[in-house]
């Protein structure tokens, strides 16, 4: 018993010091020097003010901006902790809807969203919630459908918007790795800079 306990406890202590403390701390220190932006969360500043992270989606509701996907994140209601309230793109509480394909709640939600976005067919990512609730991207088809609305709200020619969208559309790497996507925050920052 004791002859087993000693190696067990010693190895736990050594591995904790090594894999749980020394190496993560050293790596954190080195990463802060070599990759300060990435290691710090790819934060984006505008005019010296923090506006978000390049990797984390944001909620957009104004007609002036391209909209992100719906987000299923909910937080406890501050007034009544037994209830949940919608908290789209709350980056401290990542989650998806976890609705199965036959759930009435899913069908009702999509029905309501399509009524707002119409006419059919609507790109799937525009009316479905992502796994993380923080999806930074939308599909090129989804972005293209929003061009007319944004152009009207900003009084910009649609051609100019389409050109900007083309610049911010990331094609699959080497032609086949990953999906074509548009980072919504980057696109909207570029819009504001016009």
């Amino acid at each position: 018993m004791i002859s087993t306990l000693r190696p067990a406890i010693t190895l736990i202590v050594l591995f904790t010091l090594l894999t749980g403390i020394a190496i993560p701390l050293a790596l954190t220190g080195a990463a802060g020097v070599v990759f300060p932006s990435q290691a710090g969360g790819s934060l984006v500043e505008r005019d010296g003010k923090l506006v978000g992270s390049a990797l984390i989606g944001q909620n957009f509701t104004s007609d002036k901006y391209f909209w992100s996907r719906p987000s299923a994140i909910t937080d406890p209601d501050p007034n009544d902790s037994t209830k949940q309230v919608a908290a789209p793109y709350d980056a401290t509480n990542s989650n998806g809807s976890n609705l199965g394909p036959t759930q009435k709640a899913l069908v009702d939600r999509v029905t309501a969203d399509i009524a707002k976005l119409g006419p059919a067919p609507v790109p799937a990512d525009a009316v479905t919630t992502s796994a993380s609730g923080l999806d930074p991207d939308i599909s090129p088809a989804n972005a293209a459908r929003q061009v007319a609305r944004v152009a009207r709200a900003r009084g910009m020619p649609e051609d100019k918007l389409r050109a900007l969208l083309a610049v911010h559309t990331e094609a699959p790497a080497l032609g086949f790795i990953g999906e074509a996507h548009v980072n919504v925050l980057a696109l909207n920052l570029a819009l504001d800079a016009q």
Binding site: G40, G52, T102, D125, S139
Partner: protein, 569 residues
């Protein structure tokens, strides 16, 4: 399904196949204590560990001593992690001031990480301090992965020679695997992940002001290093609640490919290690082939199920071109999500880059069935290998019954004792999955946790017990897992699935190790050819089907039927 989608899947699988041989041979030499290039660098650290811990690496252990040592270190680590989680408020590196976990949640989480399950009844960014993630969970990721590989090595040694009394030294196996395989590989992976944007910082969460003027608090943390071992060790417990779907755990297609590779790299490589240890490479490749064929079929079915989209939504006017995007991320799309679904449940990983609860009925059936088959395709690090060896014993037993000969596997006679132990191991899993889920759907205290109605609700509960028993850790995550009933019940299921399976398997290895190693003769059934591969595939599917088809037909299969009838719940 598109050619481009299949090309991405083929790329990942090709990487896995290419690395299996060198990685498997390397692990075999590490386990044998042979000199390796890293040995020169890390040798002093290894010897230092032995000296401080009073370990004689050359002293072999009987199967009982090996199992006892394995259980002892895991029990001690469980207690330590439980204490850390309860007391995290008083420990350093807690910039968000997270409170200690409740007793049931701390029990569930500690059990979850000790058993390599990494079921997340907690939300990482909302409940755990940076310190708990680092010296609590990350250390467990290493230790439980190394435990699995050590156990697999012990089982393989049971077949290596004749008249063996000993299966190797557990402490030396554990130390070598950690120092020479898991740690260096995790470091390299972590550097890549940081370069691609996975955070590695101790700064507190930051407040941003969005373009529309709202406040967005962004959770950060020392993510990258834990991310590396999370996948490499088939652990699967994410730093964040959304796991590898969270952009900070999996920012782009490149990290996704590397994460996928690292989930299955070691499990497939261990078949090569097995071939080396038993002294016949073809035996390892036969197991590799069984795993490869079945997982390929599983990937194809998930991809097909998800690519068509949800017909209920298509009828409303949703374009089905992108597939079923509910619970999926745009940057991964259907093929890379489908591949993740299959690989994370073919192993005991359980990390997710899409929400399994929102998969199509058949897309959700596949991962559940893969776990129920015992996670042997290719299975968790180590646990996949010893799991498939159990099935191989049952397969040669079935073949022996057909021709009326005493079965042999790798030159060892398989007799009543081994077959009974193998069946015991398999039936423990079935008992825990079906017993636990069956009991729970009858108890209001458990069904109150369900988020989905109709057959999907049953699937949610069945998946929870399947995942816990299989030490997978993925979930139909709508279920409210943090209730005292599920915390404790699923915690016990994890314990049974890991250790009540492992001990009989080590007993088999001990029993076989002592037997003489027979040279194959004309009457020996060869276990490296296509006939054996086909037989093993048949045994796996028939045993899994017989046990779980009734439950699956009430869950996902019933759901598929009602979906085609356009019925909602």
């Amino acid at each position: 399904m598109t050619p481009i989608g299949w090309a991405q899947i083929a790329l990942v699988l090709a990487l896995v196949a290419l690395t299996a041989w060198p990685l498997g041979r390397y692990i075999a030499s590490v386990l044998a204590g042979a000199p390796t290039p890293l040995g020169r660098l890390l040798g002093p650290a290894e010897r230092g560990c032995y000296r401080l811990a009073g370990i004689d690496p050359g002293r072999g252990m009987s199967w009982k001593a090996y199992a006892f040592a394995l259980l002892m270190i895991n029990a001690a680590h469980f207690l330590l992690l439980y204490a850390m989680l309860r007391l995290q408020f008083y420990l350093p590196l807690n910039p968000q001031g997270m409170a200690g976990l409740s007793p049931p949640l701390a029990f569930n989480t500690a059990m979850s990480f000790v058993t390599n399950t990494n079921w997340q009844a907690y939300a990482g960014e909302g409940a755990l301090s940076y310190g708990s993630q680092m010296w609590g969970l990350t250390v467990h990721n290493f230790l439980s992965a190394a435990t699995g590989i050590a156990a697999a090595a012990a089982v393989a040694r049971g077949f290596a020679g004749g008249g063996l009394k000993q299966l190797g030294n557990f402490w030396a196996d554990l130390t070598r695997i950690t120092l020479y395989v898991l740690l260096p590989a995790s470091l390299v992976l972590a550097v890549f992940y940081i370069a691609r944007g996975i955070p590695m910082t101790l700064s507190a969460y930051v407040d941003a002001t969005t373009l529309e003027g709202a406040k967005q608090t962004i959770a950060l943390g020392p993510v990258a290093f834990q991310e590396a071992i999370k996948l490499l060790g088939t652990n699967g417990g994410g730093f964040f609640n959304a796991n590898s779907a969270h952009p900070f755990e999996n920012p782009d297609a490149w990290t996704n490919i590397v994460e996928l590779w690292s989930i299955v790299a070691i499990p497939f490589a261990l078949t090569v290690t097995f071939g080396r240890i038993v002294g016949d490479a073809r035996q390892g490749w036969a197991l590799f082939a069984v795993m490869g064929i079945l997982i390929l079929a599983a990937i194809g079915v998930v991809y097909w199920a998800e690519a068509g989209g949800n017909p209920l939504l298509t009828a409303l006017g949703v374009d089905p071109a992108l597939g079923n995007m509910e619970g999926k991320e745009v940057r991964f799309g259907i093929p890379m999500s489908a591949l993740f679904v299959a690989l994370t449940t073919g192993t005991s990983c359980g990390a997710v880059n899409a929400m399994h609860d929102s998969l199509m009925p058949i897309g959700g059936l596949v991962p559940m069935f893969l776990i129920q088959l015992g996670e042997i395709l290719p299975g968790g690090v180590g646990s996949g290998l010893y799991g498939i060896v159990v099935y191989a014993l049952i397969a040669v037993f079935v073949a022996g019954l057909m021709v009326g000969r005493t079965p042999e596997y790798l030159g060892k006679k398989i007799q009543a004792k081994e077959v009974k132990l193998a069946m015991l191991a398999v039936l423990i899993l079935t008992f825990s999955i079906l017993g636990g889920a069956g009991l729970s759907v009858a108890l209001p205290v458990a069904t109150a946790s369900l988020a989905n109605a109709g057959p999907h609700g049953l699937s949610e509960m069945l998946y929870a017990w399947t995942s816990a028993t299989g030490n997978n850790g993925s979930a139909f995550a709508g279920i409210t897992a943090d209730t005292p009933y599920l915390d404790i019940g699923l915690g016990i299921a994890m314990l049974l699935g890991r250790f009540a399976f492992l001990v009989p398997v080590l007993a088999i290895a001990g029993s076989l190790g002592g037997k003489v190693k027979l040279a194959g003769g004309a009457g020996t059934f060869p276990t490296h050819g296509p006939l054996f591969i086909g037989l093993l595939i048949g045994v796996i599917l028939i045993m899994g089907g017989l046990q779980f088809f009734p439950a699956l037909s009430l869950g996902p299969i019933a759901e598929q039927v009602t979906l085609l009838a356009c019925k909602t719940y």
